[in-house]
Chain length 342, copies 2
């Protein structure tokens, strides 16, 4: 019998669905499969789509998927919902989008809801994305709801991040944009047929200009310097014009597909820019480094809990509860003081 | 000369502001002060106020602060902004609220913006709250913007969580409520003079009824069972009527202070309920346990990075980047396989 990961590599959708469940539940089979699939990943273009509720992100993602399908690319949609940690329910309207995309074997849609911490969700999402990548999905759309830190964490996964706005969503949403703008590679004003679309576009443009007086110098997600590019004989090293990416603002009406062509072109251009400038590699490395850090963190905690009996841990927590020890002192009591296990 | 923490305990506002900066920057002086102040904390009523942008949370918090001040209680406001991780700017409009509260020495307002991960922000906020608590602030209002996982994490700090809604904020915001509702101890429909307020109230009511067909059984933030209560002679153990908290829905107009009296009464009743039912202690313990866990996690990571030279770590990350090792295999390479340091 074929293993789950072999079946996934051969394009078996049922096996893929099963493996994603294993990964969501963080089973040991799931972890083994991730190790096996890892060398097969690293080819997909990861596209993050984020924005406040009411901007029409889901319809937009839908349209993007349809468009990429017309280019015969295999598309995965990962809809991440960090807002519903308790119910575990997906609010992102799969049912709605299924209508257009169902029956197409080149599309796979998966919703992920937080079951624990946001850190856990970001990690599960990263793992799911890796599985899709290994399974040969060339375009992976990662959709997140909201405009908070959680979305930023998830956006860090992507090579290209789309921030979606829409006219008429209230004033304070403007204020929130300031932070989210800085992660945007492409800005989308969706529902562009609504009153206020021109104003929304103008506001975004002036915010961009404000943040980046002349040209927007590209800010990396990670803190690493770009990897040096090999320079071919007879060719100059890639010039400075490619070192700057000015986020374009694209108006769309997802409901009837207007502006989607142009948006897809912006996405393709951004992908080319990333590869030419070396930023693609920088983002990959930063992303993989934080994956290693996260895996390390949970391994160290597992090891701690294996090493320190539960009743010992609970006793120390009780001393904290009784205000005999501070949390910092509790850590010193549980370790040799510098974090090393006793 | 008096130490910073002594000055804080004596009510020196300047020292308090300085210490909060130390804590935001996670300095070693800040950590020491936290240890020293810890036994003095544990008395304040921590009140979380969360909800989507546009609901008028800041005005509401303002009004609550004014009201508690009339009861001669010392009030701290911690305005947490997880939406702006890059700019570090506070969007919560301190300037506006300052008008009513400035010049009152019984009120202290502090904005906190995320500088790194949301986990970091939640921890810094917890530490700031602890300092206010130790400094004798009896009411601590923790205001967060948005409705995502980040807010949930921060809400876990609070004894009493208010979820603020307002009429006419668009459709999908309804969908988001499902998750956030489950952390609500008290629901507030602010801007209740606007059209749609009755509908918003009805919608919330039916969501509450839907989630909890007969009576809402109280769901603890943590997973711990309630601490057993001492039963006085001749008295029965506290009955089941106190074991259930049905979140009230309160309409307010923060702009002119309508409904604030009633809201403050709900908050006081919830505090009494928590103490009578034993849930106060349960929440305290759960909160302190996650503080210990977080402190432990960062101590273990510090220890790891002390133990493993940076170039060794970077070399392993490079192997991951080259897809020679998976992140899981990288962790095994860096530890003895079960998370123990080599």
């Amino acid at each position: 019998m074929m293993s789950l990961e072999e079946s996934v590599l051969q394009g078996d959708r049922l096996a893929l669905a099963r493996l994603l469940t294993q990964i969501e539940n963080d089973t040991s089979d799931g972890r083994i499969a991730l190790d096996i699939l890892f060398p097969h990943a690293g080819k997909a273009h990861l596209i993050g789509v984020t924005g406040a509720p009411g901007t029409g992100k889901s319809s937009l993602v839908n349209q993007l998927a349809l468009h990429f399908r017309r280019q015969s690319k295999r598309v995965a949609i990962v809809a991440v919902d960090p807002s519903s940690p308790f119910t575990g329910g997906a609010v992102l309207g799969d049912r709605v989008r299924m209508k257009d995309l169902s029956g197409d074997n080149g599309v796979f849609i998966r919703s992920m809801a937080s079951r624990g911490s946001i850190g856990g969700l970001a990690r599960t999402t990263a793992n799911a994305v890796q599985v899709f990548d290994a399974a040969g999905y060339e375009i992976i759309l990662i959709e997140t709801v909201g405009a908070g830190q959680s979305e930023v964490d998830i956006a860090k996964l992507a090579h290209t991040t789309l921030v979606v706005e829409a006219p008429g969503l209230g004033d304070d949403i403007q204020a929130i944009k300031a932070g989210i703008l800085e992660i945007a590679d492409i800005l989308v004003v969706n529902k562009a047929d609504r009153p206020g679309a021109e104003n929304a576009e103008k506001a975004l443009k002036s915010m961009l200009d404000l943040g980046h007086p002349t040209q927007r110098v590209y800010i990396h997600h990670g803190s690493l310097a770009p990897a040096p590019l090999p320079v071919e004989e007879g060719k100059e090293a890639r010039g400075s014009e490619m070192d700057v990416w000015v986020p374009p603002i694209q108006k769309t009406i997802a409901a009837d597909g207007k502006g989607i062509d142009e948006l897809v072109q912006h996405i393709a251009r951004h992908g080319e820019y990333l590869k030419a400038s070396g930023d693609w590699a920088v983002r990959e490395r930063a992303r993989l480094e934080s994956e290693v850090e996260a895996a390390l963190q949970s391994a160290l905690m597992d090891q701690f809990h294996e090493h320190v009996p539960e009743d010992r841990f609970n006793k120390v927590v009780s001393q904290v509860f009784d205000r005999i020890l501070s949390p910092g002192e509790a850590v010193k009591a549980l370790t040799t003081g510098n974090g090393r296990l006793k």
